[in-house]
Symmetry: C2
Subunit: 534 residues, 2 copies
């Protein structure tokens, strides 16, 4: 496998830059997040205008109204949720170049075009699910039966370019532990470790690599014997013939060639599920992630004005004035004491405003480097990945442009299913985005068939979203470098007059729904303190 | 952590001996299992008596009836399913010493006293779920947020004896990879590996151990640089302060002391989820595993006679004759052309029969070494493991006698919940089994509170099953040594006259429901071939 691709996956699956953004955090102590958002006092008589009915904007309005503020949300789209968007039969997607698709999945099937999974540590997201009584299900980010796939001709001897996660891991850890046990027993760590610790390490190598004879403890002495030896077929790697009843003990499968395995760099794929935000248990919203967006919008009702794209933002003396395109296309105006602007910088950078020159420059810079990312939902006649490949949920990673297949985590053994046919970033996403919707499907089928030959026969329909070509998003999420966090980020955390910048981009949980909520709560604290003191 | 306990877990969680049983299989090629059970011909006019309405017996009757056989099942208990048993409000459990418990969980809550999880490779189990249209859900056997716990005073410096799985793994792999990278760069593997493979290995150590500066690839050259360096706080281990909105980048947590970690032997716990039958994705039956048993019994209706314990089995000339205790306690007799006996050997060894002396001896030997195992379901007022500890499903392992806590994989963020308060084996199971049901609860609370101090305040009710003290089971599952597979197992695979031995014990998938099904299918092939030729 090309190491480039897997490194990118590890580094970028959580949003480009997610890794290093958070690394800069070391040593800085902040408040714990499991505190409730605990604002007291009263916002009566104060008007707050909120730009954007995404999760940041809607949660801001929802919380402000608890405090008595008068809120109004202006939203460009005809629906709530922004990037928190699920696609079902009848959903229409139009991209900036005019290409239009209408979803014709079977009733009941859906595709999460934006957020699909919630880490167990994203407390604000989970808290709102609880507050709105929304059911959560397991999202299976880890499945040892899914594949690591490479299209590289050099590595087709690795199971036809397709190793189960369990096989790749068992072989990689097995061979490595065997080498390490040998080196250690030959003295390689004699200077580094005490005898006790070397002995412990030898036991670790034996058990981690499933080395030597299998564990069959009879006495405590047996248990303390280091398990060393050579790597071979074992109960982590699994069977080539499953064991059964009667006289059928099954047959263990055979490890792949060590040199080819090492050179394939498949091990870079292991990191995908180790990264903090991608570890099990992950959760998903039953029925589609947009249930969360609609839970807010149902409670907000007429607070939201839809199809009202902002065209101008002015800090008018003590308050704010915005101009938007109202029903019928006429420009309309709205005034308020405060404004919370949740418009992504990728969009905001082209909206007329009277912010300071450094703020304008900062918005322009960050707004120009939003993540390029795309996803496709594909409906198949038959859940062949379950029936034929025994893959129940999880992720297959590939070095093709499609990057990954995400299998559904529910509805097991039911008739049809929708899987995520691709979910990619950067150059790979651009390769798909520049194609017409029909050609994207052709390419997804061509690449996907290399992993699942059943694709062509079983495919029914597909729909794709190129987020940087989607109006009012124009990108997946904000990217920040360390440098930019110190400068542009710090600058934009301060309000411009009465206008606050808010959304996933104004958080250290960027590219996650929790980022939108965390930023919203942070903004409310600032705004409420100012409103209360004023 | 005591290595004994974790080795036992790894070696025995799948049934004592499961590891080495299957290892003996190497080199023997058998049929693939995804073939359907494809029996043709007709059993009309032939009568088959089946002893036991567990999964083996019921699936045998179900399949035989498709072929036209006349079937009758005699079952000792008043319910179907045998070990496939779920406990709900009102379920009564009486043990061999007379101790009786009645479940008083809230309506809707249940506890799988026997089987709770299905590996993705257990095709016969999954096939029956599909045939009966039973919904499957994810069973979360892996949760990086769950704990490895030790009560050993020596190791309390490891997070108070409680490390999250992610923390233990990150630190263990991190420290080890750091040591190995150093040794390798100092030449420890120069004789073993080519330069290319050493370079690949150095990259593996870097990425597996999350060593050195985090990945922030800018160019292809960057990506090819080996990630070496020292182990420190990282994005696998996670945060001590979660990142948030605004000016809160969070704080990475600090690794524990290396020497203490190595000596704790916590790494033996990692194998639990690596063993083939315990890898993700695992599945569970929605609503309780006994849905599968009831799906059979509903279809079999009057084929099953309940409360009819067998007391004698005689091979009568060409057929079989059994004596059982009928309604009112009177001895009754039943005759048939064939008999499929699914009574566990632990019970069968005390039933009068006219098998050959070697068969009697074999049944007695295996029947005397059934697994000692126990489980407790505990209902709590509040799902504190989710609310306070962010544990959604998964397993906490401990070196206390309780061995493990299994958290529910569904119903997240709902009000109450039932978790598996202990699930243990051998000596540990015996320690609980010998206590009264009330004292078992006391002990489970005492041990559990060391992990979750919320236990005492939140506990509502509990019910336990000691399988070796449960009538008509008298043990968890059969154990076979390699030697016994060659001798006793081979002998008992052959019928005694017209009587076939069948059940999980007559399979290489022992201690799993699939073992019952596989054995049943194997028996049917033999029986049907004989009946068809006779
Ligand atoms: C492909 C993809 C996958 C993701 N996966 C996950 C995941 O698995 N889990 C997770 O937690 N998060 C995930 N996220 C991130 C999550 O979707 C976002 O962080 C979150 O939804 C952002 O919310 P927001 O309110 O900050 O922004 P938005 O949702 O973008 O809201 C901004 C709102 O402003 C509106 N707007 C824009 N321009 C104007 C204008 N001129 N006038 C008026 N209104 C305007 C927009 O229509 C939109 O409704 C994913 C995102 C993407 C793109
Ligand atoms: C604690 C525990 C956990 C388990 N966990 C899992 C799991 O997670 N997943 C999984 O797939 N499997 C699991 N199993 C294994 C699974 O439950 C068994 O392998 C399977 O149910 C055995 O089915 P059987 O038909 O062979 O035996 P049984 O279910 O024991 O059926 C035998 C039947 O014979 C009846 N009988 C006994 N004596 C007489 C008599 N004298 N006269 C008439 N009838 C009699 C019994 O009442 C019973 O109904 C677990 C088992 C236990 C004990």
């Amino acid at each position: 496998m090309k190491r480039r691709d897997f490194l990118q996956l590890v580094g970028r699956a959580g949003g480009a830059g997610a890794v290093y953004q958070t690394m800069t955090a070391m040593g800085v102590l902040h408040r714990p997040l499991n505190e409730p958002l605990d604002l007291t006092g009263n916002g009566k008589g104060k008007k707050v205008l909120i730009l954007g009915a995404g999760l940041a904007g809607m949660s801001a309005a929802y919380e402000l109204r608890k405090l008595g503020y008068d809120c109004k949300i202006l939203e460009a789209r005809g629906r709530p949720g922004g990037r928190c968007h699920s696609i079902r039969r009848g959903t229409v997607e139009t991209e900036t170049d005019g290409a239009t698709q209408t979803c014709n999945f079977d009733p009941g099937l859906y595709f999460n075009a934006g957020p699909m999974r919630v880490p167990a540590d994203h407390l604000t997201t989970l808290n709102y699910c609880k507050e709105f009584d929304l059911a959560l299900e397991a999202f299976l980010n880890v499945n040892e039966n899914a594949y690591y796939h490479t299209a590289d001709p050099k590595f087709q001897s690795l199971g036809g370019g397709k190793l189960r996660h369990r096989e790749a891991k068992a072989d990689m850890f097995g061979y490595t532990d065997e080498l390490m046990a040998k080196a250690t027993s030959e003295g390689a760590l004699d200077k580094e470790l005490s005898k006790d610790d070397r002995d412990a390490l030898m036991q670790f190598f034996g058990s981690d690599g499933w080395l030597g004879p299998p564990i069959q403890p009879k006495t405590t002495d047996d248990l303390n014997k280091p398990r060393t030896g050579v790597y071979g077929p074992n109960m982590r790697r699994g069977f080539s013939v499953l064991p059964g009843g009667g006289d059928n003990p099954g047959k263990l499968s055979t490890p792949v060639d060590r040199h080819t395995l090492f050179q394939s760099k498949v091990f870079f794929g292991f990191g995908y599920e180790q990264y903090i935000d991608f570890q099990m248990t992950m959760l998903q919203l039953a029925g589609g992630t947009d249930r969360l967006a609609y839970a807010f919008s149902e409670r907000l009702g007429k607070v939201i004005t839809y199809s009202a794209p902002i065209q101008e933002i002015r800090n008018d003396g003590s308050g704010v004035r915005v101009v938007y395109k109202g029903a019928g296309g006429a420009a309309r105006e709205e005034k308020a004491d405060f404004c919370i602007c949740t418009i992504p910088f990728s969009v905001l950078k082209s909206i007329s405003n009277d912010f300071t020159a450094p703020a304008k420059a900062a918005i322009d810079k960050i707004g120009s480097q939003y993540a390029v990312t795309g996803k496709m939902g594909m409906q198949f006649k038959r859940r062949f990945w379950e029936e034929d490949d025994r893959i129940f949920g999880g992720v297959t990673l590939t070095d093709q442009a499609m990057t990954q297949i995400v299998y559904p985590s529910t509805g097991f053994q039911s008739k049809k299913g929708v899987l995520t046919g691709y979910y990619n970033y950067d150059q790979q996403a651009e390769e798909f985005a520049k194609l017409s919707p029909q050609d994207r499907i052709k390419r997804a089928l061509a690449e996907g068939s290399k992993i699942h030959p059943q694709y062509d026969a079983e495919f029914e329909s597909g729909i794709s979203v190129a987020w940087h070509k989607t109006p009012y998003s124009l990108g997946g999420w904000a990217n920040w470098s360390d440098e930019q966090r110190k400068n542009e980020y710090a600058l934009l955390l301060k309000p411009q007059g009465a206008t606050y910048f808010c959304g996933e981009h104004m958080s250290y949980v960027g590219s996650w729904m929790a980022g939108a909520f965390e930023s919203s709560h942070e903004t409310l604290k600032q705004l409420h303190a100012r409103a209360s003191s004023g």
